[in-house]
Point group: C2
Chain length 545, copies 2
């Protein structure tokens, strides 16, 4: 049998071009040169400005010998410079490594060394940490560039040159090139690494392009959306939203600090239509004074992720008039790679049931190929019974290239042709995935599994609670028992007995926390509660008792 399609239909420069999100910037600058791309305080940039400045950045980097295979690190807030780095750095051929601005000097020094950063672009807000980190470096020091944002005063300029002067040396018409291969690296993102050294997750141009598009399609984002940067851009490259905004020809509203007064002010002033964040961000907004919330004329669409959102937060956001969509993903999956796609019949449910539906991790993102809950050993799917737990796994083009210089970790992560998330979940009868816990967060009490999330969900429903975390506390009799750490709303008062009583009303007795600790909860830079800190605390408490 002959195959008429076998010959003469090959790739050539006219019909095959590597996918890269950099092309979205060029397109918006070409078509919408005068539209506002970035708002930062009193400053305004147009798409034409942004493109010219990103080319200048790329050109200036190349003048310093930076190019393919080099890493450029950025310790920046959600500023215009940070937005530009997402384009200008890869346009030079280099890889952007966005650093978590809340890390300490040791962690930063580890990342600069491991990632072999040749350049570091930094903001004076973080000068104390960066100064110490630079002092810790044993090898060659990177070129340090200070990004001086008029929105911030204080800190110290540490670098050889400031960002504006640096890019002034670059050519706004710089003839940047697409990567030779869409599989080439575009960014490097270190995982938070609660145990051991952080791992360097490498993204490729193909995945960044596809997730930029998937954000638009999966969320139904209309062209020219106004996006408020409540989510850190250093976190999974802001879930790929710098590239999404370029494809969307929308407007980035910069935000240095997650503060309700600031956020509501910007939402009203710039008619923000879209934002993303962890539950803690929405929690702050929900609990903000009512006068801040009045006067929003447009619908604000919010993606929520970073931790499974308690039902009370989803419900609260809805009550506030926000249209919240829950997404799920990890650094390794370019941020969101599943979405709790809404069903029309949910709208007829009571709001607490709606919130429960929307609180699930859901189904695959448009451009991710699969999410599955599998037995971690056999890789067989669990039944859709809402009860049998397995590990969430992903497969598709929204999965990282691998961990930098860590083939062992990459091989483990990709074992059996699936990316293993480490999150435990069930599948409901409609095929929607619901996280029960991180593998390490599950509490095993007298042989029974207790989902810490289930207990937290109940705690969040208590009117005095603004944040809650439940961890395993070692117990001689039961092996482990749940311990609750609770942060109360401003002005609220509550006793341990109230909390226990509340839990007994909603949970089987063995799931009720055996200990309740009140105080401010430790959180990561992305708003995740640091359970490993609490776990240590629960353990030491045992030692004292």
């Amino acid at each position: 049998m002959t195959n008429p399609y076998a010959n003469g239909l090959d790739k050539n420069p006219a019909n095959y071009v590597p996918l890269s999100p950099l092309t979205f910037l060029e397109r918006s600058a070409f078509i919408y040169p005068k539209r506002i791309s970035v708002i930062q305080g009193e400053q305004r940039y147009t798409w034409k400005d942004s493109y010219a400045r990103c080319r200048q950045l790329a050109s200036a980097l190349q003048q310093r010998g930076i190019g393919k295979g080099d890493t450029v690190a950025a310790m920046l807030p959600n500023s215009n410079a940070m937005f530009e780095c997402h384009f200008g750095v890869p346009m030079s051929g280099a890889v952007l490594n966005t650093l978590n601005t809340r890390l300490d000097a040791e962690a930063i020094a580890f990342m600069l060394t491991h990632g072999e950063a040749k350049v570091l672009i930094t903001d004076p807000e973080f000068s104390a940490v960066i100064k110490d980190a630079l002092a810790l470096l044993e090898g060659p020091k990177p070129l340090v560039i200070d990004s001086l944002d008029p929105e911030f005063t204080g800190g110290e300029a540490l670098g050889e040159i400031d960002y504006e002067t640096f890019i002034d040396n670059g050519d706004p018409e710089f003839a940047w090139e697409l990567p030779a291969d869409e599989w080439d690296p575009i960014t490097l993102n270190y995982t938070s690494g609660t145990t051991g050294n952080p791992k360097g997750v490498v993204y490729h141009h193909r995945g960044a392009y596809l997730n930029a598009a998937s954000n638009i399609i999966s969320w139904g984002m209309p062209p020219h959306s106004v996006y408020l940067w409540t989510l850190p851009m250093f976190h999974c490259n802001g879930w790929c939203f710098p590239w999404t905004l370029a494809a969307n020809a929308g407007t980035n509203v910069c935000l240095r600090k997650v503060d309700p007064t600031l956020i509501f002010g910007l939402i009203k002033e710039h008619k923000v239509t879209h934002m993303c964040g962890a539950p803690i961000v929405y929690g702050m907004l929900i609990n903000a004074p009512a006068e801040l919330k009045t006067g929003i004329e447009q619908t604000v669409n919010g993606l929520i992720a970073g931790a499974a959102p308690p039902a009370a937060i989803i419900e609260g956001a809805q009550n506030m008039g926000f249209n919240i969509t829950h997404v799920y993903g990890l650094t390794e999956t370019y941020g969101p790679a599943s979405v709790c796609a809404k069903q029309p019949e949910w709208e007829r449910l009571p709001i607490d049931l709606q919130a429960a539906r929307n609180g699930r991790q859901g189904v695959r993102y448009h451009m991710q190929e699969a999410i599955a809950v599998l037995d971690p050993v056999s890789l067989q799917p669990v039944p859709w019974d809402g009860e049998t737990m397995g590990e969430i796994m992903f497969r598709g083009n929204l999965v990282m290239k691998g961990y930098l210089k860590n083939e062992k970790a990459s091989e483990e992560a990709f074992a059996g042709g699936w990316f293993h998330t480490g999150d435990l979940a069930v599948v409901h009868s409609d095929g929607y995935v619901k996280i029960k816990d991180r593998s390490k967060d599950i509490i095993i009490s007298g042989g029974e599994n207790i989902s810490s999330l289930e207990v937290e969900d109940v705690l969040y429903r208590h009117p005095a609670v603004i944040a809650a975390a439940v961890v395993a506390k070692p117990d001689e009799k039961w092996g482990e028992v749940p311990a609750a750490f609770i942060e109360l709303k401003a002005g609220a008062a509550c006793a341990e007995a109230d909390i226990i009583e509340h839990c007994r009303g909603h949970l089987a007795r063995f799931k009720v926390p055996k200990q309740v600790v009140f105080g401010v909860l430790p959180k990561t830079s992305t708003g995740k509660i640091q359970k490993y800190v609490l776990r240590q605390q629960a353990k030491s408490a045992l030692a004292i008792e």
Copy 2:
């Protein structure tokens, strides 16, 4: 210098999956099993139904030995079967060849032979032509399957089996596979071939996937759109909209016949939000009786292409309350590959100037990499002066694999790393492309170029004209002169002198037609006026004179 990204970051089954639009069907069936995918007369299919039926089709084809490298031809209207072929055929590994239902037996026989079709799925409406075409085949005959649509009575069943019985043999759980390579062929589309044999344009899975997504992003299509099939699905695979609708989890409203009463009825009944078509389709709607047009509650978004829309048609559609967007492309570019992206300031212009702006071919589609107007010899871009003509060329992932079994034509089409469209255009000062003519449609009179489109634009503004075409007429003195062919609105009357007078008011004297012929204009199946027929007529007219 070491490159830390050089090793250990390779593709594997967890992080690399070939792009294919088939995955969109699986996704919508999984997430929205009960949503309506297809409406055909009284029949309704859900996304779950559609997925099961497409798997049955793929399975039944494989049972007949059909698979990779095989062609399955379809001579079908805009029916549910045609929609299913866009998924079921490539799920079997085969390539779908949609046939233009208005072609004659010789052309169909050529395509079946050249494409080496192993299977032909056909509708009784076309049985007379297909019967003759099959009789013309010299080689082995394809397996013929009759698609019997209750919406049509008449014609003849020609096949060995009917479509419903055929797919009944297939397994609704069939374990279809993605293509091994996203570059693998998915469909075959013959160009209309006004001269010489038609050429077989081969699409790949990657391009079909990307244009399906690009339609959503470039048009700003919200999820769950209701799409009316006014555009033939056989034409560039309906501009990739069968796949777009699967990604969108929208609803396909089938339509066997472009008829204003039918169209307005369906728009109202099913609350259609989106449709596509050639200017002639919109012209029919604009000129329909006013009572048909009343009672549309939703905005109907229309893409228009297939021929540069005269300003009067864009203006008329707007007056009717349709939100029209002009796109441009060719069979070789998966249908639309550029869009006349709207600018906010256009809304403040008088409607005729708005229409002129919207009548341009515009800028690149989101997922096409480039559109350019180049000197066809030097491949240098023309200046953005709105005057200098060059040839429109495309580059990117929305360009075909090539022409089937025609390496010479493919090489010519791709010369210099650009796909050559054969369309002549200028670039305006804002970078928007405006077609002046097909290379072969330009009229050269006394050494001056006359754009036939410019003259047609003026003719369409005459209140009595419903369709107009201008072609070159050989002339002893001038070389060529413009001749106008005009179709009048029902009941309208008009003399040659009126038309000439009207043109003199709007055109330089040398551009005014020297001859005006009234009558029904010959059109292709996609509504394009067949200028080559008129050109012949203009030539013979000369012979007679």
